[in-house]
């Protein structure tokens, strides 16, 4: 592309050449690091050995909510911080009110009642199969998004206070559980024997509700109108 035809703000040929060289060098480095030298066996053995004590039979769920549950706790904090950040930019932009198409409304009347059902199944399946809080919450949030784009905007008409309580519930319950197991000489997030499964389900349920509300809250792109 000649420099005359490129859109304003896009850099020129020299920068492209330098960037291409840098990227090729980086790619070569990564390729060498991948192919040359040893490959470590990884942690599948350690996970399998500890799985019976983890409170989940799916190894990925066990890693997410038990062995590396602290990552997931901070991940919930990232999600919550993102919605706090998006809401801090200003009130939600008004979506133009138009008459929703009958196709959309018809589809909604089928899909939206199904969403909580699928959500509950995914949440439950998460302990033994692929699934879990994020997938379940995303399905529920999708139902919320369908609502919003069909002109029924519960997130904006709903009072902000209950929504914000729902948004913080996931991280709040996770933190409360993580701290509540500590008395008696245990570490943060060290579930007592036998209680791990129940506590993980509690954490996941709260997380599902929050994830759904957070994703819907991110979708509306700003804070609900009655939030001060």
């Amino acid at each position: 592309m000649s420099s005359a035809s490129r859109p304003p703000g896009e850099p020129g040929l020299l920068l492209r050449a330098v960037l291409a060289l840098l990227l090729l060098a980086a790619a070569a480095g990564v390729a060498l690091a991948l192919v040359a030298g040893q490959v470590a066996p990884g942690l599948s053995g350690a996970v399998a050995a500890a799985l019976p004590d983890s409170g989940a039979s799916n190894p990925v769920t066990a890693v997410l909510l038990n062995f590396r549950g602290y990552d997931t706790l901070l991940e919930m904090a990232v999600l919550t911080a993102a919605v706090v950040g998006v809401w801090s930019l200003g009130p939600a932009p008004r979506i133009r009110e138009t008459e929703p198409s009958p196709v959309l409304l018809g589809m909604n009347s089928v899909l939206i009642p199904l969403a909580p059902l699928i959500c509950a199944y995914l949440l439950w399946a998460g302990s033994s199969r692929p699934g879990g809080a994020f997938q379940a919450g995303a399905v529920l949030a999708a139902a919320g998004v369908l609502f919003i784009i069909s002109g029924r905007r519960p997130a904006v008409h709903l009072p902000a206070a209950p929504m914000s309580w729902g948004i913080v519930a996931g991280l709040g319950v996770f933190l409360a559980v993580a701290l509540a197991v500590m008395p008696g000489g245990r570490e943060l997030l060290e579930y007592p024997r036998g209680l791990a499964g129940a506590l993980i389900l509690l954490v996941e349920t709260a997380a599902t509700v929050s994830i759904a509300l957070i994703l819907a809250g991110l979708f509306i792109g700003g804070r609900p109108e009655d939030e001060p």
Partner: protein, 109 residues
Amino acid sequence: MSSALLYAGAGMGLLLVGVWALVLRAHLLRKVLAINVMGSGAFLLLVGAGAMGGGPVDPVPQAMVITGIVVSISATALALALVLRIAYATGKAALPEDRERDLMDREGR
């Protein structure tokens, strides 16, 4: 082993494409997309490189990728909301050239 290497290589490819677009494209939506392509590349690399040892599937990189995806969704959401606000405030969804920014700095404080 070989399919794991294929995944890792594809991840590296996506990373390169992503960086390229991030640096060279001016429209902010494209930059946000570029970051997402890069993110997918990094996650693919994480799973692919983690599986090159063979043996049973290692759940640790997979769990890390799930965490990473949620983090990336959060960042994307914030980025898109910022793009919208920039478009409302300035009428275009691109970062300013230095000259424009100096002008804004002087006028806008």
